[in-house]
Amino acid sequence: MSITVIKPGLQSSFQDLGRHGHQHLGVSVSGAMDARAHRLANLLAGNSQDTATLELTLTGPTLQFNATTCIAIAGASLSPTLNGHAVPNNRPLIVKAGDTLAFGARTHGLRAYLAVHGGFDIKPILGSCSTFLRGKFGGLEGRALQKGDQIHLAKPLNGMDPEKLSDDVWKIKIYLPAILGTTLRSDIRVVKGPHADRFTPESLQQFFSTDYRVNPESERMGYRLSGAKLTLANPTQIISEVTSFGTIQVPTDGNPIILMADRQTTGGYVKIAHVATVDLPLVAQTMPGESLRFQEITLAQAQQLDSQREEAFGRLHQGLASLRELLGATQTA
């Protein structure tokens, strides 16, 4: 009833929608970098959206399944194969005992999410299965996958003919709303931060009109950018305040940093802007060396876009009722 890790991949870690409710105690939220792809993979595997998935980074793992289950992959295109045959992203796939899931070349994006039906059998820490790599807790012993790991499935699909299940699942029509797909766009929509007016007008103008390159040391904690250096009109010390997913802070060297899933809960740098939640997945899928450009939108627009995407998730969830029924019925058969 498990999965054997043949090759771990570059950085494969369990993530859900994050460890909420403990930020006042300094506990980072963590969670999927691309929450959109994480939720999509879950829905397509017949799960609730906050079930832990495996976040794969650039080079995917090789996994051998020792049980029948339904899986789905979403996010980056990392050329997944099942027993050597190409399989698509954004589809429920039935795997059976002895099958090997592997990944090949990246064609676009950086992070893919692997969901299994019913989830992986992981003990939650402070209400979440997310791995906080820097703090070494959560997920699988607070670390990324290693060769030889055995991961148990919480709800394998036992006692069912995988061939028939596969045929039945393949017949299900899936209408993926475009707004939920992986888009390729370097314009990142942001809402101005409370400290934006402390920058010189030239710096603000450059921030919104020039490209920023993602540096190699960017990771789950934050994306370090280089481009036009940002200067304050009157250099002042900022009192430590909270950070948010997507906060763009500017240390004294003038190079902005986008705070991501494993960010510290507080920070003492000037905050020029915040990435709109709807565009955080675009940042999460950007490779070091690629460039971003920031485009200002209002808070109302950001929340409107967020709300539209939530409606699309609602529609997809409804549309997948037959999949859940199929997998659930199998469970009790």
Binding site: Q23, H24, V27, V191, E310
Partner: protein, 240 residues
């Protein structure tokens, strides 16, 4: 719908599309910190739908929220209205009376506090004076941040005012007790740090398997208790 105005020195501002900030435009004082903790506590008790975290800091309270749980595209304004309503009902004075005192043992100086001589020299005090000033009166926990379980404690006596180190250290041992700008931070685990390490505590600050997972929380007061090397080793052994 207009966003309600709060009485000075408070104001309410958005931070991105999923965080709302109550900001206090004033000097950092324990009284201000207590107000932040009291407001945070009231907001947590209010259990506003969609709010996931309420985080007090030195001079602000952050409310993290998930708009999808509101089912409305005017989330920020609705939330600000609700937050302002809770704010009006907060009695800061009664919150101050409830403060808990947590004793934290610290082995000062020597290998446990490599920066104690520098701090003493900079402040024009003896090492014993620094220890006495640091461990004398209980001090206030303004917030936790930097790392899980890491408290920012202050404000210490003016005589202990020293800026951060010019060059941060890359790896401080777990439990390092460090000061800067009349505040103390305790590093729960091995981490980089730019403050002056004057001692080390043998007690565990963060234990993720328990809930709550930290030794102290915002709003507590901390009394540092000087201990010997022998006591340090014995407490450390009992924690393992």
């Amino acid at each position: 719908m207009n966003i309600p105005a709060l009485p000075a020195p408070w104001r309410i501002v958005p931070q991105g599309d999923r965080t709302l900030l109550l900001v206090r435009d004033d000097e950092i004082t324990e009284e201000g910190g207590r107000a932040c903790a009291a407001i945070a506590s009231a907001l947590r008790t209010a259990s506003i739908r969609g709010v996931t975290d309420v985080v007090p800091t030195f001079n602000s309270v952050a409310v993290h929220y998930q708009p999808r749980l509101f089912g409305s595209s005017t989330t920020y304004k609705s939330l600000a209205t609700e937050v302002a309503r809770v704010f009006e009902g907060v009695d800061v004075a009664s919150a101050a009376a409830q403060s808990r005192i947590v004793e934290i043992p610290v082995c000062y100086g020597g290998q446990y506090g490599p920066d104690l001589p520098d701090v003493a020299r900079h402040c024009g005090l003896s090492e014993d004076d620094v220890i006495a000033l640091h461990s004398g009166e209980p001090a206030y926990v303004f917030m936790l941040g930097f790392a899980p379980g890491a408290p920012y404690i202050g404000m210490h006596d003016d005589a202990l005012n020293i800026a951060r180190r010019d060059t941060p250290r890359t790896a401080l041992p777990a439990g390092s007790v460090a000061i800067a700008n009349r505040q103390t931070i305790i590093y729960p685990n091995v981490s980089p740090g730019g403050w002056h390490v004057i001692g080390t505590t043998p007690v565990t600050m963060f234990f993720p398997d328990k809930n709550p997972p930290t030794l102290v929380a915002p709003g507590d007061r901390v009394r540092f208790v000087p201990i010997s090397v022998d006591q340090f080793e014995s407490i450390k052994a009992s924690q393992a």
